[in-house]
Assembly symmetry: D2
Amino acid sequence: MTRLHVPVALRWSDLDAYQHVNNVEMFRLLEDARITAFWRHADAPADDAWPTAVLDTGPHATSHTLVARQEIEYLRPLGFTRTPVRVEMWIGHLGGASLEVCYEVHDGPVAGRTGPSPGGAPYAKAATTIVVVDAATEKPRRISADERAAWEPYVEEPLTFRRRR
Amino acid sequence: MTRLHVPVALRWSDLDAYQHVNNVEMFRLLEDARITAFWRHADAPADDAWPTAVLDTGPHATSHTLVARQEIEYLRPLGFTRTPVRVEMWIGHLGGASLEVCYEVHDGPVAGRTGPSPGGAPYAKAATTIVVVDAATEKPRRISADERAAWEPYVEEPLTFRRRR
Amino acid sequence: MTRLHVPVALRWSDLDAYQHVNNVEMFRLLEDARITAFWRHADAPADDAWPTAVLDTGPHATSHTLVARQEIEYLRPLGFTRTPVRVEMWIGHLGGASLEVCYEVHDGPVAGRTGPSPGGAPYAKAATTIVVVDAATEKPRRISADERAAWEPYVEEPLTFRRRR
Amino acid sequence: MTRLHVPVALRWSDLDAYQHVNNVEMFRLLEDARITAFWRHADAPADDAWPTAVLDTGPHATSHTLVARQEIEYLRPLGFTRTPVRVEMWIGHLGGASLEVCYEVHDGPVAGRTGPSPGGAPYAKAATTIVVVDAATEKPRRISADERAAWEPYVEEPLTFRRRR
């Protein structure tokens, strides 16, 4: 039951006319959390590595990812706060060439990068299916042993969406 | 089988580093199509009315909408084009205080504002559940008879998502 | 006195809480107009070429551009309209490795891609200094004879900014 | 020589295809810093007040601001960093109904909310002229004594832009 805990700072421009984070911007927050956790950034100092960050970033990376599917339920409006929100993430399914990332958006603060969820009612629940792709061919490629080893500790039950018709 | 056909122009800033419309920006295109079709804009000339546009917009509107849920499947990458894309929309469910808007994103051009779908493989399929809310109380309110009459001609079978786990 | 006339469609998400195009989004509109006019897009049909579009786009282009400087005066608020706005553009200075693009944002429609300005009070006046850069070295490179020939017909007096301190 | 020091976290989506913060997004960072410093947010705890935050925010505020003018020089490319950047701000001119906010964008971290600049070469220098407006009439209104008292300690020499033509 170990999750990733990624802080994401809000911006005023995330708000809509009702002073709530806009529904599209919520996906932007999730994207930012996901990239922070999974993509290794060349300029990050070595001691700043995320436990799951084994994909290379930038124009010379040999792999990239495609988003195949997303689903979200907005449970209560998220207003502006200067404290970064805490995006809790885990892997709901780890397949041959794809994985499903699950998220819950909570009030911060964030104690560490991984750990159990402190619980509480989230603002939103979401899931993204991402496919790992060879950058040259843009075809799916198998998840490597290194990637699988980095990601397996974060595999948990996938989210259940309650409002699906 | 009548759908709404809303043109949405792409912007260069919608593209990611791989020259495809970013997965988050795709929701922005859907939002733009949905607001065009459903919200009446005070400054629009009378002959520019969309058949479904019965909700008032702006800071003095008595109602607004909340997005409760979204789901999308990205079927093939959408590259840049100067021709606006055609967002086909219909209502997959019309409830007491909420409706589910279904979308397919296709290549343009758009012949008219409503009509049957010309078919073809979409870039993406998506659905948004929106709740109509009283602006003063932020509580859901019943869809009015006028709104229901405007929206009923566009009720069709809801989308089936194939990649749901 | 020939200008480029580039239509740019607004989006609802460009608006701020006061229903005016947000000051940052205005730069997004200008960026879109500038890229449309100056960058050749691989997927555009041959008869869709802009007269000034001689820079290649995409990850394999040998050149790209850096923005060195921008300046804008917002003269009156731009509200939402379904008709694309008309961004009038010209070149206020054509240097050895850089050019200054000048803009005025007007109500559409747009009759053609080039021509004199029909006049009228703009919503905003702006200028961007862009430097042409070798993609491999990221150093400025000289504007080529072909580029200069494509751009010279659009050189006009630069904008005068009235509110500079 | 006291400046405001506002941390602003970058997002991956701020980056362009060259892995630098996009020129338009840089204005988004400045906007976020400016609103943090000048606008009082109803939900912020009392001990979280910024020294200059005397303008009320939200749909019921009696005043708002219009941006009349902006100018920026991009001095060197800003790549991605997980440490928030430090936006140093001061007031270059405090007029009857308007003020000019000046900015320099530096590497973080940020030691406190106000203080002298530690110096160093900025990524960008910019200025924004904002006009304080009565929310009901949308006309400029005089800066109040309270506002002036809050802002005067941050008045410094305005920025000099070196690349103006």
